[in-house]
Each structure stands twice: as structure tokens, then as C-alpha cells.
Amino acid sequence: MLQSREGVYIVVPAYNEASAVHDVVSDLRSEFSNVVVVDDGSDDATAAEARRAGAIVIQHIVNRGQGAALQTGIDYSVQRGAEIVVTFDADGQHRVEDVDRLIDALRDRDADIAIGSRFLDLRSNVPALRRLMLRIAARFMLIATGVALTDAHNGLRALRRQAAEQIHLTIDGMAHASEIVDQIRRLRLRVAEVPVVIHYSEYSLRKGQSNLAAIRIAFDYLMKRIFR
């Protein structure tokens, strides 16, 4: 029943995204009935704005990081009976129409998990330095895990229920994206990469990770790999 939208749960991790989350949720809600915003202990009105836009809001009482918020949203969706779990960033960088492409890829390409990639075509206007960082990161993940992805750090993903049940993110911070790739390898999940467009706004760049944060992210990931 992959076509049924009732079974699709969109998980939106959000930390201090009050100014962006309303529009993101509204757009999603025009297409999907189950939009789950995980408010990761925000200090601002993120939860209220998300609720106003029609999202199911679940709240971390203290900030635990994006990986932790994603896992909470995934757990919740699975408990609610989701057939497909989609992860979607709260800052407006993703497009709602790409969600359908990911869901189609799960079905048409018989994949367990579909991951968006901004590098499969030239539609995303990726800043040069960010492009370089993400390329290095993808190469690093290829060496570390043997999983070949052009854009391992894309926040837009779709998981079949079986994959959502198996994936368990233990890295609370941003290194969870690398951890997902790890688990794809370990669980032998079938992956489909789908071209998506990332909209780089001044807001999403300001709110997003600085290029320097890559060092911290790589450290978190390596420590987790070494000391499980």
C-alpha cells in the first residue's frame, strides 16, 4: 500500500525554527495528513507555529540534537503505524514535490530507503565550498562504509516501515547522517538515490551547519565507530 498517503509520516526535526517551520508544515500539510514536527527543545515558538500549521508536535523537553530528534520522530511514526517514514528539514531547503519522487523510488526501484541527492543534476545552486565539503564527506563515507552515495548528508529521505523499524540512530548530533549510511551497510538495506533540489536561502545557510562543523561531525562519527 505504498500509494496510500495515510500511511506516510513526514518527520520534521526542528530546533528554533519558529520563522520557517509554519510555511514548511503548511506546504507539507497540503499534500500529506501526517506531518510530525519534533521540537527539539526550542527556546522560541517553534512548537506553537508548527501546531498552528497543522502538524502533530512532539517535544523534547531539552535539546538533544538533530539525530536524536529524527529518531524520536521515526519511533513515533512507527508506533502510529506508518508505512513510510519521510525525513524533511524544517528550514525550507527541501521541496514538497520531491517527497513523491522518493516514495515512488521506494516502489519502482524496490528500495528500503530512498535518499535525496543534490548532486545528481545541476538544479541545486550549491555554494562552491559547501559542494567541496559534501563531496569530501561522500568520499569519506565511501571509504568508511563502502556505500556509494553522491550526497550522504541530505536531510530528505524516505524509509519503508521495515527499514524505519531497524534503523536506530545513537548519535544525537549531526553525525547521524553518516550513522545512517553505516546502518544501511550493516542492515544490507537497498538504497535508491533520487535527484532532489536543495533551496539554499540566506536563512537555511545561516541556520545550517558551518563548513567548520564538519570537523566536529567527523570526530563524533569516528568516536562512535571506534567505541561503540
Binding site: 500539510r29 501546531r51 497543522g54 502533530i56 523537553i61 538533544r64 513515533y76 502510529r80 544525537d172
Partner: protein, 126 residues
């Protein structure tokens, strides 16, 4: 006896006593507590008899007793940092589990008045 010995030896004796009390009150496990006591005693012995410390240093191929103490402290400190890091990470994981459990437990249904084209399949429980 040097002034340094007069000041530090009673202090270390107090530390041994304090550690023993913590073991007796079961705030320290006997094993962990004995490790601390061994450290205090080793410090006391090397202060009381610096020549012994020098002989141990020479035996290990280190020129001065003070260098031996320095090297051991650095290793000990970094090991402590590392163990603390692992402990912190474990606490982090436990905290995340609690926060996640609470978040899911306390989740509420979205308002049914929300603009919706389809059926709302939100949670029905409080």
C-alpha cells in the same frame, strides 16, 4: 623533616582517612576506593623518602624522581579525561532515551480544525 613533608604528609593521611570513610559509607566501591588509597600512599611514600622515588625512577630509566611523577600524572590525567568522556557519552545516551520516552508519551493530537484535505490520522490518545 622538610617543611614540605610536614605540610603534605598529614594532608595525605587525611585523604586516606576520607577515602576509607567513603568506602565504609558505600559511596565508593572497595576496588575503586583502594585504588585511590594506593595513590595517596604512593604519594606519601615518595614524599617521605625521595631517595626511594629516585631509585624507582632510575630503575625505569628516568633520570629524576620528579620526572617520573610528572609522566605518571600526565598519563593518569589523560586516562581520566578519556574515561570521563566515555561516561559522559553514556549519560548522553541515557538522557536522550528519557527525553524521547517523555516526548512520545506526552504527545497530543493536532487540532481537528486544522486545514486539511484528507483525513487526519493523528494520535487519538492524550
Amino acid at each position: 623533616m622538610t617543611t614540605f613533608q610536614i605540610v603534605t604528609l598529614p594532608l595525605l593521611a587525611l585523604m586516606v582517612l576520607a577515602t576509607a570513610i567513603q568506602i565504609a559509607r558505600r559511596r565508593l566501591t572497595p576496588r575503586f576506593g583502594m585504588a585511590w588509597i594506593a595513590l595517596w600512599v604512593a604519594a606519601a611514600v615518595s614524599i617521605a623518602d625521595p631517595d626511594l622515588l629516585v631509585r624507582v625512577a632510575h630503575f625505569l630509566g628516568i633520570g629524576r624522581g620528579a620526572d617520573l611523577v610528572l609522566y605518571l600524572s600526565v598519563i593518569f590525567t589523560f586516562a581520566a579525561f578519556f574515561l570521563t568522556y566515555l561516561r559522559f557519552r553514556k549519560l548522553d545516551e541515557q538522557l536522550t532515551k528519557i527525553v524521547r520516552h517523555l516526548a512520545i508519551k506526552e504527545s497530543v493530537a493536532p487540532p481537528t480544525s486544522a486545514a486539511s484535505t484528507g483525513e487526519i490520522a493523528g494520535p487519538t490518545h492524550k
